[in-house]
């Protein structure tokens, strides 16, 4: 318990420090936020323009599609906000040897990496996600009950964990290959599949999305629980199970990676 509170206060200190450095340039913050907002707007405009032409897409109405789209943004945004620094591990920390500093400090290494950066750009994704989900609630596409609200929060957390775990596994590959940023970007491209109902894809893609890169569980599958009252255990329950399993695997790989890490020589 004492350890936990120590980590909380450390996190606050790290984040305050980071905020101070970003405050040097407020313009950058708005550029980043604007960038992600505009990307989202483009995706939404696509849906609108398409639904001008068709009444519904394989049984999904525009309102339902917007809910799935917004729902998909939230776990992704949360993960993006909190653990963006993992990119740095895959991209340059291992190859440049700057990973050394984490090993020297008496703190959990994963914690140290994560708390070094808070990516405020992600607020753009979160904002869009909240607006779309709020809209779906307002026009009755989904009903709110205390139970559903609770499961919504659980689902967001589990979804974010799946994102983080996938990112951690791929970043850890850098311990063996030195640079895994190209692999990471590729996996993120796959995450885009999650914004739409997975039934539209060919079988092999569906299988990949449910096993190797389980992005189907971060958005589409849990969102059916809220939209059409799909079975709890097959949706949110499955999502939590996947999140737990993949997190354990990811953390094991990460620890294994650290043990083979060797610093860049000079």
């Amino acid at each position: 318990m004492r350890k936990l509170s120590r980590y909380f206060s450390l996190y606050r200190i790290f984040v305050m420090q980071y905020i101070k450095t970003t405050m040097q340039s407020k313009v950058d913050f708005f550029i980043g936020l604007g960038g992600f907002l505009i990307s989202q707007a483009a995706g939404l405009a696509f849906l609108y323009l398409v639904f001008e032409q068709i009444p519904s897409m394989q049984e999904w109405s525009l309102e339902q599609m917007l809910f799935i789209y917004g729902f998909a943004q939230l776990p992704r945004g949360i993960d993006h906000l909190l653990t963006d620094n993992l990119w740095m591990v895959g991209w340059q920390m291992v190859i440049k040897g700057t990973f050394d500093k984490y090993i020297l400090r008496p703190m959990n290494i994963f914690f140290q990496i994560v708390c070094e950066r808070v990516q405020f750009d992600a607020l753009g994704e979160i904002l869009v996600g909240l607006v779309l989900v709020g809209r779906a609630v307002a026009n009755g596409t989904v009903q709110v009950t205390p139970v559903k609200l609770l499961f919504f929060i659980v689902s967001m957390a589990a979804g974010a964990i799946i994102y983080t775990a996938v990112k951690l596994i791929l970043a850890s590959i850098a311990f063996w290959l030195k640079d895994s940023s190209a692999i990471m970007t590729t996996a993120y491209e796959v995450a885009d599949f999650a914004k739409y109902p997975i039934e539209i894809y060919a079988k092999p893609i569906q299988i990949i999305l449910m096993t190797i890169l389980p992005f189907a569980f971060v958005a589409y599958i849990p969102s059916t629980y809220f939209l059409i009252d799909a079975n709890f255990w097959k949706t949110i329950g499955a999502e939590c199970a996947v999140a737990a399993v993949i997190w354990i695997i990811a953390y094991k790989i990460f620890q294994k990676g650290i043990s083979v890490y060797e610093s860049a020589g000079n």
């Binding site: 950058d28 550029i31 980043g32 505009i38 897409m57 190209a182 893609i205």
Partner: protein, 272 residues
């Protein structure tokens, strides 16, 4: 002209070579592009399956398949960004070095990108196009693209390359205003995905917007070559579109020179 090429060609050749070296990275790059294309392929297939008529926004299902793959390959080949490099050069001050060298900064960047484009044209694009052509004839039952259309398409793609690069050069000048080029690029790419017709054909937009777009250079980057390839323009219209593209190349080139002159006077480099 010959002397000019002798000076600048090595920049292009170097890019081609270094692209060949990083093979693993390159295959991942291709895989990524394929993933992006297939998301939209399946999305469109689902959309057409739900449509009551066989035609949406003036495109039949077969034409839409061709559209998705052509617009993706063309924009990937043509959009070789230089603004992030300008960004780096400005933030670390090395842009000052290029002022002292007897080499034109922009021409050097253009040739470097030309190298990347040639590489991308040969390695993934050509194979995708050949595959697409076979698919088109055998599976979709459409006639083989005639040589005239093919030539016009290639010419149009070349114009697209220059339109994009001169546009991106102007965009890169923003590096003198903000250092967060990464964020600026996200804004730019999202906007371009939309305005160039890569995400969705321009004909899906309301007519008023289409009118506005026709006065902007963006449709000339991807939409125009794809439409020429699909045979959506008549002979006269093709010439008109090509002329428009050429005009944009000139306009953006001149605008870039103008911006550079303005900025050159106020460059302040830290340190010595």
């Amino acid at each position: 002209m010959k002397k000019y090429l002798r000076i600048y060609w090595p920049f292009a050749a170097n890019q081609i070579k270094s692209n060949f070296v990083y093979k693993g990275r390159f295959y991942l790059f291709i895989l990524r592009k394929f993933l992006g294309m297939f998301i939209y392929y399946y999305l469109w297939m689902a959309i057409y399956a739900s449509a009551s008529s066989g035609e949406l926004g003036g495109f039949s299902r077969s034409e839409m398949i061709l559209y998705v793959f052509m617009s993706y390959t063309i924009s990937d080949m043509v959009m070789v960004g230089i603004s992030s490099e300008i960004g780096y050069d400005v933030t670390d001050g090395s842009v000052a070095m290029s002022l002292t060298k007897p080499i034109d900064y922009r021409t050097r960047l253009v040739f470097k990108s030309l190298g990347v484009m040639i590489y991308r044209a040969v390695v993934p694009t050509l194979f995708i196009w050949i595959g697409l052509e076979i698919y088109k004839v055998c599976k979709l039952g459409m006639p083989v693209t005639n040589p005239m259309t093919m030539t016009a398409t290639l010419l149009s793609v070349l114009f697209s390359f220059f339109i994009y690069i001169f546009f991106d050069y102007c965009f890169g000048m923003l590096a003198f205003v903000t250092t967060y080029i990464f964020g600026m690029n996200i804004i730019k790419n999202a906007t371009l995905n939309f305005l160039t017709g890569r995400l969705i054909p321009i004909s899906f937009f309301p007519t008023a917007l289409q009118k506005i777009f026709s006065f902007l250079p963006f449709t000339a980057m991807t939409y125009v070559p794809v439409m020429i390839y699909l045979g959506k323009y008549s002979g006269m219209q093709v010439l008109e579109q090509l002329g428009k593209q050429a005009l944009w190349v000139v306009v953006l080139y001149l605008f870039g020179s103008f911006l550079w002159k303005k900025i050159e006077r106020r460059i302040v480099i830290l340190g010595g």
